[in-house]
Symmetry: C2
Subunit: 342 residues, 2 copies
Amino acid sequence: MALSLPIALDAMGGDFAPAAMVEGAVRAAQQGIPVTLVGRETEIKRELEKYEPSSLIDVVQASDVIGMDDHATDTRKNKNLSINVAINLLRQKKVSAVVAQGHTGATLVSALFGLGRLPGVERPAIVANFPNATGRVTLVDVGANADARASFMQGFALMGAAYSSVMFGKTDPSVGLLSIGEEEGKGNQLVLETFDLLKSTPGLNFYGNVEGRDIFKGTVDVVVTDGFTGNVVLKAAESEAKVLFGWVREALTGGNWLTKLGALLVRPALRGVAAKLDPAEYGAQPLLGVKGLVFIGHGSSDAKAVYSALSFAARAVEANLLEKTASKLEVLAQKLEKVDTA
Amino acid sequence: MALSLPIALDAMGGDFAPAAMVEGAVRAAQQGIPVTLVGRETEIKRELEKYEPSSLIDVVQASDVIGMDDHATDTRKNKNLSINVAINLLRQKKVSAVVAQGHTGATLVSALFGLGRLPGVERPAIVANFPNATGRVTLVDVGANADARASFMQGFALMGAAYSSVMFGKTDPSVGLLSIGEEEGKGNQLVLETFDLLKSTPGLNFYGNVEGRDIFKGTVDVVVTDGFTGNVVLKAAESEAKVLFGWVREALTGGNWLTKLGALLVRPALRGVAAKLDPAEYGAQPLLGVKGLVFIGHGSSDAKAVYSALSFAARAVEANLLEKTASKLEVLAQKLEKVDTA
């Protein structure tokens, strides 16, 4: 695998920046993925000195960092923020994608204004994956739009379908609308309006309503929801898995000697289950709908998660996720064009 | 324990009615809980004949049942529906509470129109409990209101607090508002408006915003949200637990003989964890805000879940949940009175 252009990594964003970002980049380079570290050059180079030099890593200076307490809109005021410099490299086609683990709102704003939207997209959306009973489900939007409209959701559905088919090889992925009842007519106002729109969207394999339980049961390939509900579900699901596994661990280590012996014997088997649930599996979630590949990672990403994010981004570049998403959205672009020329 | 009035059980609602309902009632009676079975007398009596007769069980005839495919509003057209007969018994104070596992919307409509709202309540809400890292969290609303307003949510917060303190002995329970960021100002429009209202609600220990992850981390005693988000989270959480435990079971039974031996040894310890997660632990969730104690159970309830629901309802009657909820809501009742007389 060799990308012709490097992936830009915001080396200053995230709880463990820049150390975890640099270590993750070094690991990615060892796997042949070229990385451009964006941020304070001296700090980054001090970290880089800890590793063997690699021709696949370069550094681009950015003097400032957006603070986690800053407003997302502050991003527009300062060109020298690491996220803005990274997005600008993408706009200039000096990199093939951007990975950022910092302030999510800032990344959104920077990407939206620095790159612009793909034709047909009213609002970009963040896409996430869950492991579930039948493999994996794609959930969209998980936080870019706290308040959504039916027409935004139509775009989410198409973007989610494109993503599921490009990244996970699903042929004509089925798309469900998250609601509180399976039947048409169940849900809140937004769902009722969205249902009608999705039903009549060409090129969309619309399944109908799904419920919370269907996310894990694996009823559909893609679940569409507003960014508020999606974000709540994503964070609740990650936290639930952590708490449940904590209980399992506690039960196994806190028992009598027979339980402890049993725990030793089953440990390898349970490790496989834990790995399945590791949110670092992909490391980052794509922001779809902008003119460029942007991946948003957990603020708490460690080097392993950073490496996973870079490697997932590299896969997306190679699979032409951007072009294929744009082509799936053409049906909406044509509709908007018609409205514009009417 | 001896209740002076029986608990009415809709014997016709739920996937396994009337067999599971009758068996659950028999178990409850064995524990000293008087139960009035409401539904088709001949069908119920045929089931009852399978058990020792009990003076704590009686049957009230109701000739009709609401179908799962009927509209909730159809409930108002037929007095002879089992749910309407049960609610009517409660209105006439012939029973102390109603437990229903059938059509949730029908139960809502029947309770709302048959009993009326408590003073100060704009909208009743369904309350659920989750086991979590620090014990248990109360989530409200989990489905009564697909679209909510800030003023509804204020009522949810007070009802959730009353419930948490009465049923789980929490002193001045902390109440968090479910959002997509901890800071004030994060969330959708509904959350932003609700935040301001909750901040200034007397008698409410308002914590501020919480995120999806806080539900399982145990950050607060009560989490307030709209019925759409709450329902999605509830169903997703139950389903996730089931899928994760399925994986654990599979990993333990599918391995080599050492893993299988280990699985045998850890089985008792894991059974404790599974019990913690059993949605049948309480069996039913109260609908708060109406003038009477109404509990809504899973449609898929088996006899054990029916028994748990009856026993939980009996606890709520003895703990004066209704009166204490009404008194917590007085602050809203006074506010509404002021508006009415202005």
